[in-house]
């Protein structure tokens, strides 16, 4: 569809109004279903290379046409494009009625972005979900809501924090993008979640597999791309109120959004407020390594949290140019399981902690993420330009009681320039910019040139050291060509060059340690590191979709620069009671991956298989050594960053069958195998390898059930295999079977629609362990039964124009 729109704009570019009245006059009027005239619709006659815009009364006229039968196209933002053959044999006034799409729509890409269409346009394996899916599967955090998709897992810590993992790769190997700008936070931290408001996300595209070509270093495992498409249609306003409740952790949340648009200007705003208590697990005690901790009423002590988020976006949209601003501030506070945080498992004052399940005591984290983004694009004829600019500030503090270790003083003096109760503090400022240029070379080939630039600075604070302050510059430029061999097959190829520079700063202890007889020094924990990296990556893919089939193949090279933590870590991991040490000589990770996709879709039956095979010449990971640390004098096991050759393969399968019009059966499965081919852990798998898993689903839906529209009931039976393929210090994890139930629909009460979705997760309150949960190592089972209810009230209206 984009092609058509670009074409329309192109035609308009050369279009001249009346040349005099020779030939035929094609005149008419564009209205919507309620017979309201539509201003600004585009009427084109491709064969005659002519196009025109309708005026404020919906009227238009194209003059000087030879008598003939023409194919005409009428398109208008937010309406389904109308294609018609019109025989121009007499001067007659035509009336065309356009069908409105929906209130929420994207300006250019909406019709291009149906999942089926998108899958035909790419050679990588993608998953697309919309806000409807997110509401039906609402979890404790955005990634948790996406976990049902095959190939997607999460590394969790607590009930409100989770990190994305795509086919077993996570942390800095997955890029998260919001409104074209890479989300920059402290993503290296295994205990750090994503600072994303899931109520504000209405569209997620997940690329399963390396995508360094378009997204640069870090996209070696995949991409989570969130695009805010919520641009209201012309002259409308409205508001949506969401209310959410969850029984497991006494979660209460609300999100209110407003939007309005008058002609070319629009504005939206959203406020989200949520809070939750300690979550419940189906056990009354846990063993943290060997340390026995009783739980009060099944509550995981001090895992309560809260979030306050504000967003606004506004912009200008015209026929050739659009510019949109997005401003958001995400603030979240969350407690850590109090017995499992520190230098060792801790005996905390249970009486104080268990007095309330909603209070957030030490240890807890507090994160504030501020973001401003501008996306502008300009297009004409055969080309389009896009510019994205972004600034982000991520401020993170981890608070806990001051605990002396190493030669830290037992009692801190008041002259310190930081609060000794702050365990760690990070302040990241990130500046990003993208310039993209799309060009239509002939009819069959699209070219896409792009430049990405990013500069970030991270300052550290607090009493505990883990990573140094650093600054990092990344520059990349790429060219991608998409060639359509026919309507059913396309080739996609591209090449990219990246340059990166990382400067990390030296760091000295704030306290002195003895270095000899009666000699004391501030020990150095990190040295100055200056590393430059550059790399060429490429990708080649083919997509063929004859009739009901779809085949795709892609082969590509990706790379990832080592991060500051991998180069210069030197401190205690307070969740794992380990001592982590970086390696300043690590080289950038290089990965080669082959991806394939086979899909079949008929009216009743659909099937898809997406296998992959992948080779890393040097995968960087944290290797447990046989040594104990004496640097900080607390006897924790030392883990060192190291690199090894890795081979991985796996894939996802999915099938669905419509037994009846309303009854559908579906299955989805995922599997990943990884093996280290060299290094200290030759023959072992990679840490946090997800076990094989499958979902059997049965869904019953009815377009109308009494006063409920789009009513549905869905039952998931998740079967996860045991994970016996482990690497130190992991434990093998048993398989499990869990039922999740969902139901909902759109109730109409006095003409007011109310969207309701209800879920019961872990229906049978089964006690099971998730191998990729951060709390797995300390034997914390997954959350018990959880009833989740989300109610959404949308109100919309029209703005009168005079």
């Amino acid at each position: 569809m984009l092609r058509h729109l670009v074409l329309i704009f192109g035609i308009t570019f050369v279009y001249c109004s009346a040349f005099g009245q020779t030939g035929y006059r094609f005149m008419g009027k564009i209205v919507d279903k309620k017979n309201t005239p539509l201003e600004g619709a585009w009427i084109t006659i491709p064969a005659a290379n002519k196009g025109v815009e309708s005026d404020s009364n919906g009227n238009f006229g194209i003059y000087n046409l030879p008598y003939s039968t023409y194919k005409i196209e009428i398109s208008f933002l937010g309406y389904r494009t109308l294609t018609k053959h019109v025989s121009l044999t007499e001067n007659r006034n035509h009336v065309f009625t356009l069908e409105e799409l929906s209130v929420w729509l994207d300006e250019v890409e909406v019709r291009r972005n149906s999942p089926e269409q998108r899958k035909k346009e790419t050679t990588l394996n993608v998953e697309l979900v919309d806000d409807d899916y997110l509401k039906k599967n609402l979890g404790g955090s955005l990634m948790k809501s996406l976990e049902r998709l095959p190939g997607i897992t999460t590394i969790e810590i607590g009930s409100g924090q989770s990190k994305p993992v795509i086919r077993g790769l996570g942390f800095n190997r997955v890029v998260v993008i919001q409104n074209n700008i890479k989300h920059e936070a402290q993503q290296w931290g295994s205990d750090h979640g994503l600072e994303i408001d899931q109520y504000g996300v209405d569209n997620v595209e997940i690329i399963k597999g390396p995508a360094s070509l378009m997204y640069g270093s870090d996209a070696i495992g995949g991409v989570i791309n969130m695009k805010d498409r919520s641009v209201p249609s012309k002259n409308t306003f409205g508001t949506t109120v969401d209310l959410t409740g969850k029984t497991n952790n006494d979660f209460l949340g609300t999100s209110v959004s407003l939007f309005a648009r008058k002609n070319k200007f629009y504005i939206t705003a959203r406020a989200t407020l949520l809070g939750f208590g300690d979550y419940k697990v189906p056990t009354d005690s846990v063993a943290i390594y060997s340390y026995h901790v009783p739980l009060h009423k099944n509550h995981l002590r001090n895992t309560a949290g809260k979030e306050q988020n504000l967003h606004t976006s506004f912009g200008y949209i015209s026929d050739r140019f659009q510019s949109k601003f997005y401003i958001s501030n995400i603030n979240s506070t969350g407690g850590f399981f109090a017995n499992a945080h520190g230098l060792e498992p801790r005996n905390v004052d249970h009486e104080v902690h268990d007095a309330s399940n909603r209070d957030i005591l030490y240890p807890y984290h507090d994160v504030n993420h501020f973001k401003v983004i501008n996306r502008s694009s300009y297009w004409s004829g055969k080309w389009r330009m896009e510019f994205d600019l972004g600034y982000q500030r991520n401020f993170r503090q981890e608070w806990s009681q001051y605990t002396q270790h190493g030669y830290m003083p037992a009692v801190v003096s008041e002259e310190l320039d930081f609060n000794p109760e702050i365990e760690r503090q990070f302040q990241l400022d990130a500046y990003s910019g993208n310039a993209k240029f799309f060009y239509k070379l002939k009819n069959k080939t699209d070219l896409n040139f792009g430049i990405n630039a990013e500069y970030k600075e991270n300052e550290i604070g607090g009493r505990g050291f883990i990573i140094p302050s650093y600054n990092q510059l990344n520059l990349g430029s790429y060219v991608v060509a998409k060639h359509r061999r026919s309507k059913k097959s396309l080739l996609l190829t591209g090449i990219r060059y990246d340059f990166g520079r990382l400067n990390s700063k030296s760091h000295y202890d704030w306290f002195v340690s003895p270095v000899g007889d009666d000699q004391f020094e501030h020990l150095q924990r990190a040295i100055d590191i200056r590393r430059n990296f550059s790399n060429v990556t490429w990708s080649f893919g083919y997509n063929f979709n004859p009739n009901k089939w779809l085949y795709k193949f892609n082969i590509g090279k990706s790379f990832r620069m080592p991060i500051a933590k991998e180069l210069a870590a030197n401190g205690v991991n307070y969740h794992r009671f380990s001592y982590e040490v970086g390696n300043a000589d690590l080289s950038p990770e290089i990965s080669y991956q082959f991806d394939a996709g086979f899909a079949y879709g008929s009216k009743k039956f659909a099937f898809e298989a997406t296998p992959f095979a992948n080779y890393f010449s040097n995968y960087i990971y944290l290797d447990p050594t046989s040594n104990y640390d004496r640097l900080y004098g607390f006897g924790n096991q030392v883990f060192e960053y190291t690199e090894s050759e890795v081979f991985r393969y796996g894939g996802e399968v999915r099938a669905s069958y419509d037994v009846l019009k309303q009854l559908q059966f579906g299955i989805a499965g995922e599997y990943v195998y990884a093996i280290q081919l060299s290094g200290e852990k030759k023959g072992y798998t990679l840490p946090f390898s997800p076990p094989a898993s499958g979902i059997f689903n049965v869904t019953y839906q009815k377009p109308k059930l009494k006063c409920v529209k789009k009513a549905y009931v869905t039952l998931d039976y998740r079967l996860t295999a045991a994970q016996n393929n482990i690497v130190p210090p992991e434990e093998t994890t048993d398989g499990f079977r869990v039922f999740n139930l969902g139901l909902g629909g759109e109730a109409i009460v006095r003409n007011q629609p109310i969207d309701i979705s209800v879920q019961v997760r872990n229906l049978l309150n089964i006690k099971y362990f998730n191998h990729t949960s951060y709390y797995r190592l300390i034997n914390v089972p997954e959350a018990g039964r959880n009833l989740i209810i989300n109610i959404s009230f949308p109100f919309t209206g029209k703005i009168k124009t005079t």
């Binding site: 063993a287 390594y289 060997s290 340390y291 026995h292 005996n347 083919y542 063929f544 085949y551 193949f553 082959f594 394939a596 298989a609 296998p611 095979a613 290797d623 447990p624 050594t625 046989s626 040594n627 104990y628 640390d629 004496r630 004098g633 607390f634 006897g635 096991q637 081979f647 393969y649 894939g651 195998y673 093996i675 081919l677 852990k681 030759k682 023959g683 072992y684 482990i726 130190p728 210090p729």
Partner: protein
Amino acid sequence: MNLNTLKYLTLIVVASCALNSCKDDGVEIDTEKPSIDLTVAGAFPTSCDTLYFDEPFTIKAQLTDNVELGSYNIDIHNNFDQHTHSTEFENCTLDTIKKAVNPYIFIQDYTIPAATSEYTTDVSLTIPSTDGTDAYDEGDYHFQISLTDKEGWSTLKGLNVKILRR
């Protein structure tokens, strides 16, 4: 390339991977943790033993691994609050719960010669009765040995002991 050829080629690659022929089964990996044995003759300390301030004693425990031992670490910390470790099986008689004033703490790591799969510790230790100025607290302590093997697997043994003044 002929499309059908491509199609079948891919299917063959994928199918063969799925049938595990890509997996290298030749490498044997160690998934066994090392172990600490305190039942050997002369093992010290064992559960419920008493240690005395200023009196030297020798820590004797037998460490074994199926492949190769790594290193071990000894940790002594107070148990005045009577927290528990799940590796302790025996119940010792504990004093009443009390607040720590000046508890004794000891953390030290020790190496094991390379290519050893069985090793008996021989560490002499004397617990000082003061930190130089103030006396250390008497009472219930935890005595913990942690052990790694060369692959990085680790294991932990915790004991209830008393540290007293003679």
